[in-house]
């Protein structure tokens, strides 16, 4: 019985009509769409069922029956991350998670011109410290989850991309392997922090796991989305050095009053050149992303293309990146077989410019002109050896500072990197056995880089090793994965079981070659050339299992076990067993709290687990006695012939896993209908059998250091996360969030070093200036990377007295000549790290910011300790060099590398980004919705640190590519 049905479809949120809603009779192609006001009219049979659907909203089905007017209220689909979190080999309802797991969804990502995934979560999660290495386009970043658990082995977390664990090793020519993944394609990043959550990844889980999930297609329709932005970057601050006139005065003063040879005056020029100003620029960058997503031929899919041009503030530096991503999730046999297919591709052209120009710009004599009319050096002023008669075109002084602009002009350092990561996952419901699924995941990750690093023959620094003038290199990394697991779920009464058991196999292979040569002669052949190559591989084979048991939906128990085999260890030490267990109690479900309205969520979590570490950087066969052939240039002469040499490499036949035991206790809470939510975690992580490279007894192996298992360390800390929805109504919303991280790292034993001797341990933390100069010391009872310096003595006016230090040993004499007078001091890791975010919206406008407060991170100012010295003013070989003006704060003449004057508390607050946005919909005949936004990234930094930037990866500040302040205009359009 045909009848006409009319009605309005409105938005549950604002009550407004929704245009374009698909109104279709179930099982047919009969249908219509709503008009501009959300009205529709449709002729249907009374027995029909109408489906109302619209992108982003939860569809509704309504049986017509005798109704003639059907008004429908659609609400936004809330398949959001607060409900489900991905974990290793599966996912879990957030309320059922037993481990310390934090998910950051798209809405919470940092805003701005972000080209690499790790920047999305900077400051967003307690326990996660992300430090970009510099402001260079595409620069790498250091990610630390709950401090480092290793010394020599890697401290990087495991990255799992759509179920595919990625290889941690880098690729020359690609500063940041993560930049392969376009942030625009990422739906969420989930951080697994404690062992009960990570142990399913066994040997790679000691430093946490980051699971990146990319965006998927949707069940219905076809949609197009565009995201684009244009940004402008500028250097915020230059290093304060002497200008030309000041420099001339300074040199004169040093000659007149401090015994500097008056020959230095003859080397002065008459210009005033601001070298830093000359090497930097205001950079303009663009980013475009188009994605198509929907459902075609019953296959939900998403395809996207992104194109990023990120230009650096250092002239010529930049990346040009194209990314592509396809995801399809078809189902077969009535959903019995689900397939998840991912392929991501990336093509990137890097121009690294020449970052040597940064240091040169601090140092190059400001009284010299950029060009001086020479012909040898293409006109760029260069320091010519005193022994040369022609002081314009003669041979250069090799050790002199080289012209910063020649640095930029005469070095061409570029690379092209291609990478494809693909995996296909089959999830099959086993017939006849209810609730049993089989999952097979096959993956292949291929990356290749080709680089050139060429120096023009006119460059004044190219004389030293002409075969280094033309350099080509290529690298190839491959990572192949096979994972298979079975999953069984069963509910009976108050009991619920979810069990998984599986097998994993992964193969990593890396190879590369370098071809260095002199510039080709006219006949096409270089007169010196050198080719080197390397190749290595390793395997991981694993068996793993997990059981989740839930009782009364209140008491949750998780147990996992992983047995990992690594090809890095001998048969006897190859396998490591990594168990974990966790218990969670949903207290708010208990009768005594169920009716307490103020408490909307309260969950207690306890976790324990053991994880491992086998990733010893650059060491793939540490237990095998290996001979290494010497390469060209390292031959030895017998008679008239040059022989390649064969060297036995050091090895430790007994090397084995590192083991980290983690204890974690946490509470998740939500009050006042989740207006206030948050969590608190406290943990202890103990690592034993630390893999480190330590000095060994002379005469016992084929080196003086050996990579072996030596000791143990501990990380203790706590994390607090709080979110507060201050205002939440249909017009206005304001949410603030804060997270606090505190971690303390301590080396508890370096087993083959006597611990009663407070000198035991080893130096690390190499600095610029001199060679072999270290400023850190690893020793028992202190955190890794503790600074180890002399205590500076000051005069009555508070000026440091050059070379005078606290005589700790009370032995007198030359205090600075005795390392025993050094003190163990602070370390570069912040004691507290606080992330703060605010999101405010009013009608169509939104305003948000995110910032970080880092407390008691210490930085050794190596720029000053190496440069702010009067002795650097003039070098005997005949060149002058500029100094940072901070030399006036010390008046040091000679290097005082180990003065704690240079160790500074670099606590800071950085406003990472501020964004103002305006959202619109229904423009252009109501077809297009979107948002425009303006963002300032790296808006400001508040700090007492005297250097350019207090955020220094590793704590030794030298020559860093400055992080620019960036202004961005962004547009998002949805069709």
């Amino acid at each position: 019985q045909e009848k006409v049905v009319t009605g309005t479809v409105t938005d549950a949120n604002d009550g407004m009509g929704i245009p374009g809603v698909s109104v279709v009779v179930k099982g047919t192609t009969i249908g219509t769409t709503t008009n501009i006001d959300g009205h529709y009219t449709l002729s249907v049979d009374a027995s029909a069922t109408i489906i109302y659907s619209f992108v982003g909203y939860r569809p509704q089905e309504i049986a017509v029956g005798n109704q003639s007017q059907i008004n429908v209220i659609l609400s936004i689909e809330t398949e959001n991350l607060s409900e489900v979190v991905v974990i290793g080999y599966g996912q879990v309802k957030k309320s059922d998670a037993t481990g310390s797991v934090t998910a950051v969804g798209e809405d919470d990502f940092n805003k701005g011109a972000i080209t690499s995934p790790q920047s999305l979560i900077v400051g967003k999660t307690a326990g996660v410290v992300v430090t970009t290495n510099s402001g260079e386009p595409g620069a790498g970043a250091t990610i630390r989850i709950r401090g480092g658990s290793s010394l020599k082995a890697t401290n990087d977390p495991l990255i799992v991309l759509d179920g595919f664990p990625l290889d941690n090793s880098g690729l020359d020519g690609l500063a940041n392997p993560l930049s392969t993944i376009n942030p625009n394609d990422i739906a969420s990043m989930t951080i697994l922090k404690d062992a009960s959550a990570t142990a399913i990844y066994g040997s790679r889980a000691s430093n946490g796991v980051i699971i990146i999930t990319t965006k998927k297609g949707v069940k219905k329709g076809l949609n197009i989305s565009y995201n684009g932005n244009v940004s402008v970057g500028e250097v915020k601050k230059y290093t304060d050095v002497f200008n030309g006139n000041e420099f001339r005065t300074l040199v004169k003063d040093r000659v007149d009053n401090y015994g500097l040879t008056d020959f230095a005056l003859t080397r002065l020029g008459s210009e005033n050149t601001d070298w830093q100003d000359k090497i930097y620029r205001t950079s303009v960058s663009t980013d475009h992303n188009v994605s198509v997503f929907g459902n075609v031929m019953n296959t939900p899919f998403r395809a996207s293309v992104g194109h990023t041009i990120e230009n650096g503030v250092l002239k010529d530096s930049g990346i040009d990146r194209t990314t592509m991503s396809i995801n399809a999730t078809p189902s077969f046999f009535d959903d019995q077989l689900k397939v998840n297919f991912n392929v991501k591709g990336m093509y990137i052209d890097n121009n690294f410019s020449n970052t040597d120009a940064i240091g040169s710009a601090f140092e190059f004599d400001p009284t010299q002109a950029v060009r001086n009319g020479n012909t040898t050096y293409g006109g760029y002023t260069a320091w010519v050896d005193l022994a040369e008669a022609d002081q314009l075109n003669g041979a250069p002084i090799n050790i002199a500072t080289h012209n910063p602009l020649a640095r930029l002009a005469y070095r061409d350092n570029t690379s092209t990197v291609k990478r494809m990561i693909s995996n296909i996952q089959f999830d099959y419901k086993i017939p006849y056995i209810p609730n049993l699924r089989a999952n097979l995941n096959l993956g292949y990750d291929y990356s290749k880089s080709d680089g050139d690093d060429n120096t023009d023959s006119r460059a004044s620094w190219s004389y030293r090793e002409p075969e280094q003038n033309i350099k080509n290199y290529d690298r190839k990394n491959q990572n192949t994965l096979l994972d298979f697991y079975l999953n069984y779920t069963k509910e009976f009464g108050e009991h619920k079981i979810d069990a998984t058991a599986g097998y994993g196999w992964q193969h990593f292979q890396r190879e590369g070659s370098n071809y260095n040569r002199t510039i080709e002669e006219t006949n096409g052949t270089p007169n010196i050339e050198k080719t080197t190559a390397f190749k290595n591989e390793n395997y991981l084979v694993s068996f793993f299992g997990r059981v989740n048991y839930t009782f009364m939906d209140r008491y949750l128990l998780t147990a996992t076990l992983r047995d990992d085999g690594s090809s890095r260890f001998s048969k006897d030490n190859r396998w490591g067993l990594f168990p974990a267990a966790a218990f969670a109690w949903k207290i708010n479900e208990e009768s005594f709290l169920k009716n307490v309205k103020q408490v909307s969520n309260l969950k207690m979590r306890l976790g324990y687990g053991i994880t491992g570490q086998q990733d010893i950087s650059d060491n793939y066969y540490p237990y095998i006695p290996v001979y290494r052939q010497s390469e060209a240039g390292a031959y030895y002469q017998f008679g008239n012939q040059f022989y390649s040499t064969l060297r036995p490499n050091p090895y430790d036949a007994d090397i084995k896993w590192e083991e980290t035991t983690t204890y974690n206790a946490g509470i998740d809470f939500g009050f006042f209908n989740d207006r206030i939510t948050g969590s608190f975690d406290i943990y202890k992580r103990k690592t034993k059998d630390l893999i480190s490279e330590i000095p060994i007894a002379a005469g016992t192996n084929f080196s003086n250091f050996l990579t072996t298992n030596v000791g143990s360390l501990e990380n203790n800390g706590y994390e607090i996360t709080v979110n507060y929805h201050i205002i939440s109504n249909s017009d206005m919303s304001w949410e603030i969030g804060a997270n606090l991280t505190h971690n303390k790292n301590e080396i508890t034993s370096l087993s083959n070093i006597k611990s009663e001797d407070n000198n035991s341990g080893y130096d690390l933390g190499g600095i610029s200036g001199g060679v072999g100069n270290n400023v850190m010391f690893n020793t028992v009872g202190h955190s890794a990377n503790t600074f180890y310096l002399f205590k500076q003595v000051y005069d009555q006016n508070g000026m440091p007295i050059e070379g005078l230090y606290n005589d700790k040993t009370k032995l007198g004499g030359n205090v600075a000549g005795n390392n025993d007078n050094k003190y163990l001091m602070k370390n570069p890791t912040p004691d507290y790290l606080i992330g703060i975010t605010s999101k405010f919206s009013y009608k169509n406008w939104d305003f948000s910011f995110a910032g970080r407060l880092s407390l008691d991170n210490y930085v050794y100012n190596n720029n000053d300790s190496n440069r702010a010295l009067y002795q650097n003013l003039y070098n005997q070989s005949g060149y002058l060099a500029n100094l940072p003006k901070s030399v006036l704060k010390t008046n040091f003449t000679t290097a005082q590398y180990w003065s704690d004057f240079y160790l500074e508390n670099a606590s800071f607050f950085r406003m990472d980004n501020i964004t103002l946005g305006y959202s619109f919909d229904k423009i252009m005949a109501h077809k297009i919705s979107g948002r425009i936004s303006a963002t300032v990234q790296n808006a400001f930094v508040i700090t007492d640190y005297s250097g350019l930037d207090p955020e220094v990866d590793g704590g030794i500040d030298n020559n860093i590519y400055p992080r620019p302040r960036t202004f961005m205009l962004g547009v998002n359009l949805n069709f």
Binding site: G259, R574, T894
Partner: protein
């Protein structure tokens, strides 16, 4: 598949110990490595990676570079301007047990010993299965490896005294080597060398760069001559026994051209008994001779075939005055003044140099040394010339040293030599230096003081000075002061325990069998 976990290196440059020696030529390459430990820092040329030892910059961790530094810097022959770690402490004689450079040389000595031990083990097995000329070759290789181990152990005796002791019987692994006393190690090395003095190749029959038995004789003579210092027993008679063999049976002849022995074509010199070889293209290294030539250049000195100086090492007036040269001999027009004794090759430009070293850190305080050159003796371009890496070989043992040792052992009362022959040898050296007999001496001039000075004049910067000064009792203490000795510009006395370097603290911690040397 769990069998995948059984991996073997797939790098074309690597092979496992079990399959590397399938090729007979591999043995020679493994022997070349032991020689190369003195010259090169690792398996990639130019200090480009894969270093042999860790804990120090690869280029600094070069054997010859550190050996040179520890033998020359604490003496009146050289002073260093740089700021690298504790490098200035050497000239000041203020080094400490945790000194990174001392540790580097110590590690280097034992690296060579351990590598030689491995080779001796490997060839032991191979010799048992070999026959014919290959067997003879292997035996020669093994003898050379044993010589090089003895040579490095001699460095240990000379510099560190009581050290860990390992032989081919100690397999690599985690153990604590036994400590051996200086005297016992002396006895061990002596025994090895006596055995090798008939096992090594006949004089002058080996390839250039490889030692023959003359090197064993020479090293025995060195041990015996310093025996009073090493063991408290005077062995000058034994020294003369082997010096006579070196001089009369060795086949190495006096080079009429002094300069050639320090030039890039010194492989053609008939006088050099044992060289450490370098080559601009094939043996590239920022340590070794590349270091000696570059670090000693700067301040307008002639480049002599290198690309530029690093402005580090120069000498002080005490050495220059031994050639009767004074500041006023130099002028801006003639900064490379050469006196009657042509062995004194110095550079001083009064325009930008200063005779007195008021600032240790200023290279141009002091006097430049131009003895070593990366040019052929005739001034033409070096063979396989490269601007950064030199082709000049380092003369470890040369005949003139044997002549002067002969004279010294005679003066010290050793039997088996005579003063007339000694004076003849000395005058042969001096006539080469002066170009005529104007510098000749008489028997009356042949005193210990004269010989110590003559050794400086003939052998300066050749890694003999510290050992010589100790043997003459002038290294530490206040008998002989020179600029900045004892961290004092005019020189001050230093503690006598510094005649030995300390056992590096790292090894004391790693090996409980060791005991620190007295005083440290």
């Amino acid at each position: 598949c769990t069998n995948d976990l059984e991996v073997q290196p797939i790098d074309p440059n690597e092979a496992t110990a079990t399959n590397v020696f399938k090729d007979e030529a591999s043995y020679k390459e493994a022997l070349a490595k032991i020689y190369a430990t003195y010259a090169i820092s690792g398996q990639v040329g130019g200090g480009g990676g894969a270093p042999d030892i860790q804990g120090i910059d690869e280029n600094f961790g070069n054997y010859l570079r550190q050996y040179w530094g520890l033998q020359e810097l604490p003496t009146d022959e050289a002073i260093m301007a740089w700021d690298d770690a504790t490098i200035k402490n050497f000239h000041w004689q203020t080094w400490a047990p945790n000194d990174v450079f001392i540790a580097a040389l110590y590690s280097r000595i034992f690296y060579t010993v351990t590598t030689a031990n491995e080779f001796i083990r490997t060839t032991n097995a191979a010799i048992a299965n070999a026959s014919g000329t290959f067997k003879t070759e292997l035996e020669n290789y093994q003898a050379e490896a044993r010589f090089l181990r003895a040579f490095s152990y001699w460095h240990a005796i000379d510099m560190f005294g009581n050290v860990p002791f390992v032989t081919e019987d100690d397999l690599p692994g985690a153990f604590s080597p036994e400590r051996i006393s200086r005297a016992d190690l002396f006895t061990y090395v002596e025994k090895e060398l006596i055995d090798l003095s008939t096992k090594l190749a006949e004089p002058k029959t080996n390839e250039y760069g490889r030692v023959d038995r003359v090197s064993a004789w020479m090293l025995l003579a060195k041990l015996y001559q310093n025996s009073t210092v090493y063991t408290g027993v005077d062995r000058n008679t034994d020294a003369l026994t082997y010096l006579n063999k070196v001089i009369n049976e060795g086949g190495y002849t006096f080079d009429p051209n002094y300069k050639r022995m320090f030039s890039a074509d010194n492989d053609t010199s008939p006088e050099i008994i044992f060289p450490i070889t370098f080559d601009g293209l094939n043996t590239q290294q920022y340590g070794g001779m590349t270091f000696v030539l570059h670090a000693s250049n700067g301040g307008g000195m002639p480049l002599n075939g290198i690309d530029g100086g690093w402005g580090g090492i120069r000498t002080i007036k005490e050495l220059v005055s031994k050639f009767n040269i004074t500041e006023s001999d130099f002028s801006a027009a003639a900064p490379e003044f050469v006196g009657a004794d042509t062995r004194g090759m110095f550079y001083f430009n009064p325009d930008n140099w200063q005779w007195e070293v008021t600032n240790v850190g200023t290279f141009t305080n002091g006097i430049g040394v131009t003895k070593f050159k990366n040019l052929k003796a005739d001034g033409s371009e070096a063979p396989n010339a490269h601007p950064a890496f030199v082709s000049t070989d380092f003369p470890v043992f040369r005949l003139s040293d044997a002549y002067l040792m002969y004279a010294e052992s005679v003066v010290r009362g050793g039997a088996g030599g005579d003063v007339a022959t000694a004076v003849g040898y000395v005058n042969q050296i001096r006539e080469r230096a002066y170009g005529d007999n104007s510098g000749d001496i008489t028997a009356g001039d042949l005193t210990l003081d004269f010989l110590l000075n003559e050794r400086a004049r003939e052998l300066y910067w050749e890694c003999h000075r510290r050992t010589d000064l100790i043997r003459f009792g002038k290294f530490t203490g206040g008998d002989y002061l020179w600029t900045w000795k004892g961290n004092n510009q005019t020189g001050s006395a230093s503690e006598s325990y510094r005649d030995l370097y300390p056992i590096p603290s790292n090894d004391l911690l790693a090996n409980p069998n060791l005991i620190q040397n007295d005083g440290y």
